[in-house]
């Protein structure tokens, strides 16, 4: 009897140890961020654009998201308190900036404990001025914390 109980105790400890191997990591983003990719006109292949500065219209302190950067993709955080967010994209070589406007619906979302609660967005419209940018296409309207391309910004 003592031997059997000892086996049970050891087995219990082993199982508790195994059950404790709980992965608490969040492998996705902690927030829902739309990912925009720059593409050459007529192709969905990413191209790197340089000398790019991005700022949100109405951002506190006119803070910049990117400053004179070389990027092929960028995240554009959306405002949860409004249904529209505007971004100003300017290139070092150009005198005039382009304005990108995203209109969307906002919903609360809780997917798992590791990544936490957040908002998700569904982009309903995307428009832009055409100084440097040729056009904008919404490839994936649902914006979640899983990273995938939501917008393609075509450059000439």
């Amino acid at each position: 009897m003592k031997r059997a109980l000892r086996h049970i105790a050891w087995s219990l400890l082993a199982v508790m140890w195994l059950a404790g191997c709980d992965d608490n990591s969040c492998y996705d983003n902690g927030n829902s961020l739309p990912l925009a990719r720059f593409c050459a006109d007529g192709s969905s292949t990413a191209v790197t654009t340089s000398g790019l500065t991005v700022r949100g219209l109405g951002a506190p302190g006119d803070s910049l998201l990117l400053t004179d950067a070389s990027v092929s993709e960028m995240y554009l955080p959306l405002r949860a308190t409004t249904s529209q967010t505007q971004w100003e994209l300017s290139w070092e070589a150009d005198a005039v900036a382009d304005t990108l406007t995203l209109t969307y619906d906002t919903t609360p979302a809780f997917s798992n404990a590791e990544c936490g609660a957040m908002y998700q967005f569904v982009i309903t419209a995307a428009t832009c001025t055409s100084h440097r940018i040729d056009s904008v296409v919404v490839t994936q309207p649902r914006v979640t914390n899983v990273s995938h391309v939501n917008l393609q910004i075509y450059l000439p």
């Binding site: 059997a4 049970i8 219990l12 059950a19 949100g56 609360p108 809780f110 997917s111 404990a113 609660a117």
Partner: protein, 294 residues
């Protein structure tokens, strides 16, 4: 001439065939081996009476007294087989049990718990159909996270079967492999959510209340059960499970499912206390007696 030779040969063949049978029918002829084995339990040298063994049955003693040691040995062999290869009746016993593993783990800081009672029918001490019903709840506010999760007490049920690999041993000791199909109702709230956007410097809050869905899953389990005192027994099982359906609501997916545990975990274990109700009064049937009867 030919007819006479043929007749003689037929006569000779018939004689050869009947002679052994006639020899066997001799009334005074006893097989030598059987005659040698007929011994008396009284030793001629000392006149000491041999004492029967402690486990010797009355039949066996009678055979020894009558001097039929062959039959006594055969009886001993049957008794030995009965002990080695017992067969249990179809309705061997009924277990009533309670899984208290989560209750114990909440004392160590686990923020969810499922408690269930289960009934298991032990058939032939081998197959064990079982039903589990219980309630599960959760309350968690993870550190450095922006929400509070409240899983309301919700019911769940599992049906399945165990297979006892120690079916030849007494039912006190069992090594089990089993499968379950589980279903649960999941009611929960996600409250006190605070979402901060560092770029726009905005903070907003919301609550998701009255979220409801259902879940179903499959389990494969392995474990042991050991009798500790009288009808009481303890047992634990390692459970590997896989979600079959867990439909998300419009805004969320449950973090905790009653009876399953955390939705993203595939491993769980249970620790149960059992009470055994015997369902048969007769002793187990011997292996030589053929298929088991009720």
């Amino acid at each position: 001439m030919t007819k006479r030779v043929k007749f003689m040969m037929t006569l000779l063949w018939a004689l050869c065939m009947t002679l052994p049978a006639v020899a066997q029918q001799q009334p005074d002829t006893v097989p030598a081996r059987r005659q040698e084995r007929r011994i008396t339990p009284v030793r001629p040298s000392t006149n000491t009476v041999l004492q029967p063994g402690r486990d010797m049955s009355a039949d066996m003693i009678e055979h020894y007294i009558l001097g039929d040691t062959l039959e006594a040995q055969a009886q001993a062999r049957r008794d030995s087989l009965r002990k080695a290869y017992t067969r249990y009746p179809r309705l061997t016993s009924l277990w009533l049990g309670a899984n208290v593993a989560d209750l114990a783990l909440t004392a160590f800081g686990q923020d969810y718990a499922s408690v269930d009672v289960h009934a298991t029918l032990n058939m032939w001490n081998r197959l064990q159909p079982t039903v589990e019903v219980g309630l599960g709840r959760a309350k968690s506010r993870p550190e450095d996270m922006n929400f509070t999760y409240r899983g309301k007490a919700s019911p769940y049920a599992k049906v399945g079967v165990n297979y006892n690999f120690l079916f030849k041993s007494e039912p006190r000791y069992q090594a089990l492999l089993g499968a379950r199909l589980g279903m649960a109702r999941v009611d929960y709230d996600v409250t006190d959510v605070t979402v901060t956007n560092s770029y726009w410097q905005e903070t907003s809050t919301y609550d998701l209340k009255g979220e409801h869905t259902t879940a179903s899953w499959g389990e494969v389990l392995a474990g042991i059960k050991v009798g500790i005192a009288g009808p009481w027994a303890l047992g634990w099982m390692v459970r590997w499970h896989k979600m079959i359906t867990c439909k998300p609501t419009a805004y969320s997916r449950p973090w905790y499912v009653p009876g399953y545990g955390k939705r993203d975990n595939s491993l769980a274990f249970s620790f149960s206390v059992y009470y055994t109700l015997p369902l048969h009064r007769v002793s187990p049937v011997a292996a030589e007696a053929g298929p088991p009867r009720d």
